[in-house]
């Protein structure tokens, strides 16, 4: 094998690209879980966002419009989850699974005529001067805008949870919904909004895969990234900045794994391809010793009568 074939510049640059869908989806799920709701439908919302964004981009020729509709598509699907768990009081685990199964089917149905189509590409950010810097310019200053949006969203989420009144209410609802209800906060409304935000983020993350990272449409193309995003929230102890760190770590691993495949490491491709999932399990094991940071009302059904 030839390790010199792996360029550190490209490796870091593509690491950031690989991390972005994870980051977006995990940030959305983080807000959902901080509001006390466990939505296991991330994978389903991501893949729905992926095809919504792809289809709209291809039809209109505008990747930006595609991204907007991906977020809308993800949010619409999450609305189903919100209705089921918040108004109809269904079990959250089962509803999340239903969302994933339904989303996978729906995306396959919508995507039939888009297999093999090439989407319009998104212009990279090009800052004169900065983007031309050696190494740093290539690594930091010549990506697509969504990647920067992801980083900005991380900081915004952190600030929202830490400094704003709305963030405080969200956390209160997640920690103790009965107390929040007694204080007069609309538990169900807060949670529905959080779920919609989570859906929009997951949809955006999915569209990032189909429009920028890959870019093409294949059935089931999210390949478990939604589930890894769920694990990432646990890994990050429900803290936004740690989600960023975790996403870059996972992004790095998956890119490194692909690079090693290309460089011809003497390990069969399949074993390299399973490594991100195995590492996710290991990380989960390491992080699950401390459960105290999980929102206290996570996954519990709220009904004002009880």
């Amino acid at each position: 094998m030839d390790l010199t074939a792996i360029s550190p510049t490209l490796l870091i640059a593509s690491l950031m690209v690989a991390a972005t869908p994870l980051l977006l989806a995990a940030l959305g799920e983080l807000i959902v879980e901080r509001a006390g709701v466990l939505n296991l439908g991330v994978e389903g919302m991501m893949i729905t966002g992926a095809i919504c964004g792809f289809a709209i981009s291809v039809e209109t020729g505008s990747p930006y419009l595609g991204l907007v509709f991906a977020a809308i598509g993800g949010a619409l699907l999450s609305l189903l989850f919100a209705l089921l768990t918040q108004l109809v009081l269904a079990n959250q685990v089962a509803s999340g699974l239903a969302l994933t199964l339904f989303g996978l089917g729906l995306s396959a149905l919508l995507g039939q005529s888009y297999v093999g189509v090439k989407p319009p590409s998104m212009a990279r950010l090009d800052l004169p001067g900065l983007s031309d810097l050696p190494f740093v310019g290539r690594v930091l200053f010549s990506h697509d805008p969504v990647l920067y949006f992801g980083i900005a969203l991380t900081i915004a989420t952190w600030a929202f949870l830490k400094f704003t009144r709305a963030g405080l209410i969200l956390r209160a609802v997640g920690e103790n919904h009965t107390a929040a209800h007694a204080l007069g906060y609309k538990v169900v409304r807060v949670r529905i909004l959080a779920i919609l935000f989570g859906g929009a983020c997951a949809g955006l993350g999915g569209a990032y895969i189909s429009l920028i990272r890959v870019p093409q449409w294949t059935e089931g193309m999210t390949a478990g990234i939604g589930w890894i995003a769920l694990a990432l929230v646990v890994f990050a102890s429900w803290k936004p900045l740690r989600v960023l760190l975790g996403a870059y770590l996972f992004g790095g691993l998956s890119v490194l794994q692909l690079n090693l495949q290309a460089a011809g490491l003497a390990v069969p491709v399949e074993y390299l391809a399973m490594s991100p999932y195995i590492i996710t399990i290991l990380v989960l094991v390491l992080m699950s010793a401390d459960k105290s940071r999980a929102p206290a009302s996570l996954g519990r059904i709220f009904h004002a009568s009880s």
Binding site: L40, L80, L83, L84, V88, L89, A90, N91, V93, A94, S95, L97, A98, L101, F102, G103, L104, G105, L106, A108, L109, Q112, E219, A223, G224, W227, I228, L230, A231, V234, P268, E270, Y271, A273, M274, Y277, I278, T280, I281, L284, V285, S288, A289, K291, H303, S305, S306
Partner: protein
């Protein structure tokens, strides 16, 4: 204004009715979906639910009901035990694959020896493979408190990669002219899970599924362990005071569901599928989740739900070839069923009341 009022206890009559409500609603909404896709909704629903049972070629499709229903029922029975106790094994697809690989591996290792002992050995190996794969999330859960949901699901992707590596590598047919996939077990009499009665679709997997249904029924209704499972699901605190050992329960539920999924995988790979190939698994492990819920986590219910789901698979294939309905439409249809079922569950636990708006 409509308000919800919690019932003192779940209404059992309504609980029996909800699957029927869900199926009918799914038929209506699914029909609308098929209509939107340009197919006559009534023809589509008729093709899916009537054609396989009473249509012109029903003699061919009816046995298929057994073939497709057996793995679904077998997996769903295992899953339902855990689901009842709040233990979520959603990685049955992975356990199914590993079970199939272990079982087929034993069979292929003996090739071309002929002996009646080979098939029983494969069955044991299949169950064992699924069991071991399910023990990973079980032990991590009991030892470190890791979420069994995420671990069991991650292991599906690991299993799929492992399957690819086996189908293209170790288990590849040496006389297969370079094509991927193992030897065809259907052509190896000692390892073939053949039909027990020609033309019925009845193979050993069907027998195992029926035994599982009866065993689960007895376990849940007549055995202490089954009582503990139900108690843990319905009143976790009470279960703890009653001295239920949660560790043992997790190991038992995950282990059993893994072994059953492994068995289902083995019966599939040595029978209807015939060989280890990259994509011999068709998502039964995930569909079985829907079957378990649709059957109200009750053994008899699961048996009926498994048959119904098998019907949608077969009917879906007919609709695909006759009406040009896309395969994904059936997947959407099955997902929708689970949605409506969860929504209809509301009626079991709550009463909908027309209430006057109270003054604030």
């Amino acid at each position: 204004m409509l308000t919800l009022e919690r019932r003192p206890e779940p209404n059992r009559r309504v609980a029996l009715l909800t699957p029927i409500i869900a199926v009918v609603t799914t038929m209506i909404v699914g029909g609308l979906l098929f209509g939107a896709l340009g197919t006559n909704p009534i023809t589509a629903i008729e093709t899916i639910f009537w054609e396989p049972l009473f249509g012109e070629f029903a003699f061919y499709y009816r046995p298929q009901l057994m073939v497709k229903g057996a793995p679904l029922v077998l997996i769903a029975i295992g899953l339902s035990l855990g689901f009842r106790a709040g233990i979520w094994n959603i990685g049955a697809e992975g356990q199914y694959i590993i079970g199939a690989l272990c079982g087929a591996g034993v069979g292929l290792a003996f090739y071309p020896t002929e002996s009646w002992l080979i098939f029983p050995l494969m069955v044991i190996a299949g169950a064992f493979g699924g069991f071991v794969w399910a023990m990973i999330p079980a032990i991590l859960k009991t030892r470190f408190g890791t979420s069994e949901i995420l671990v069991s699901l991650m292991l599906v992707y690991v299993a799929e990669q492992f399957l690819a590596s086996m189908a293209l590598g170790l288990m590849k047919n040496p006389e297969g002219f370079g094509f991927p996939g193992s030897r065809n077990l259907q052509q190896y009499a000692s390892a073939h899970n053949a039909e027990l009665f020609t033309g019925t679709g009845m193979h050993w997997g069907v027998v195992a599924a029926l035994i599982a249904v009866i065993a689960a029924y007895v376990l849940l209704n007549r055995h202490m362990l089954g009582y503990h499972i139900r108690l843990t699901g319905e009143a976790p605190r009470a279960a703890r005071f009653a001295g239920v050992n949660p560790t043992r329960l997790v190991l038992f539920c995950l282990g059993t569901s893994g072994a059953l999924a492994g068995l289902a995988g083995l019966f599939e790979v040595s029978g209807p599928a015939g060989m280890v190939s990259i994509d011999f698994n068709v998502g039964y492990g995930f569909t079985a989740i829907i079957v378990a819920f649709l059957g109200r986590l009750h053994p008899v219910g699961i048996l009926l739900a498994g048959l119904l789901m098998a019907l949608t698979y077969i009917g879906g294939e007919i609709a695909q070839s006759n009406l040009g309905l896309p395969a994904a439409a059936i997947q959407v249809f099955q997902g929708m069923l689970l949605f409506f079922l969860l929504a209809a569950d509301l009626l079991t636990n709550y009463r909908i009341r027309l209430a006057r708006t109270e003054a604030a």
